[in-house]
Point group: C2
């Protein structure tokens, strides 16, 4: 119903807004990027943004949810080609290494958005959801691997994940994720014996 008459089909406003938000919010931070910048990049009228999302906060929330779902898919695809639980756990770090190697890598989108959000914001909830999912995934895999205290191991693995994201971001070193992966292996072997 939105298609342009011309041959090239135009994606609906909502998609273009989310794409523009993803680029700008992740690159510069949600508070430094104004609504006007987003609609200009998306090629969309301001009224359309407020028809689709209702507020900037909801746009930010949707942007984070999109990131969360994209990461879920990315990780699940990687896990599908692994056999042992230990391989799967290490594959999660490999997936992060791939993300961190990109030129547009700017650290954890959730942590950054959370640092800028107001206390009672829905952004925090989205951030928590993303972290809870990762923790559950680590715990499941640790259990499958036969680790002794799977919940504790999962917390340690996520701590390594968080630390690697920070290190890889601020001193754009590609060795950070490798260090985290090595420690993850150490922790795992220790827990399995």
């Amino acid at each position: 119903m939105i298609r342009k008459s011309s041959s090239q089909a135009r994606r609906p406003a909502r998609e273009r807004l989310l794409a523009a938000a993803d680029e700008l919010f992740y690159e510069e931070g949600v508070n430094l990027v104004g609504i006007d910048r987003v609609i200009e990049r998306a090629g969309v009228a301001k009224a359309s943004l407020y028809d689709c999302f209702g507020s900037k906060e909801e746009l930010i929330r949707s942007y984070l949810q999109q990131r969360h779902e994209a990461r879920q898919i990315r990780v699940r695809e990687r896990l599908a080609v692994c056999v042992t639980p230990k391989e799967k756990i290490l594959a999660i770090f490999d997936s992060m290494a791939e993300s961190a190697a990109r030129a547009d890598f700017r650290g954890c989108a959730f942590a950054r958005a959370s640092a800028e959000a107001r206390p009672g914001s829905s952004v925090k909830a989205m951030c928590d959801e993303s972290r809870a999912w990762l923790l559950g995934l680590f715990a499941d895999l640790a259990r499958q691997a036969g680790a002794r205290a799977p919940d504790r191991v999962a917390q340690q693995l996520r701590l390594l994940y968080d630390g690697a994201l920070v290190s890889a971001h601020v001193d754009h070193s590609n060795s950070a994720v490798a260090n985290a992966r090595a420690m993850a292996e150490l922790v795992l072997d220790q827990a399995i014996r």
Copy 2:
């Protein structure tokens, strides 16, 4: 020269501004707190703020520098009562555990400010300086401990430090730092053999 005539001596404007900035900036984030809030909390005229610091950015930078120096002192005092290098390394995590247990703990002030700062900001430089100091400290101690690849070990220790700060902050769990400390010990023992 600033002292009030009355018996109670009043601290100079600069000190009160830094104290107010420390509370507000760390609690709510540097971008969400306006100049007006800071001067109101400090009980200081706006003109005095600009006489002392010249800009909000410089106030933020000074606030971070103050935090950095306070942490240096805190850590050095802890190290002074340790004997072995390994004890000293673990004491750094104990110091963090102490900070993280405080009710007003809000994670790493540098990481949060850095997430909100504009790209070319002097805030980033302050953040880098703080991280470089910690890395150098870890490296020195790892070397003294006789670790095989002290620089690599130092990076791993700082990664654990970063991850612990994130974990302790967002899911205010006091077990995060303990987990990091345990992993630090594991990494150290592995590097020393």
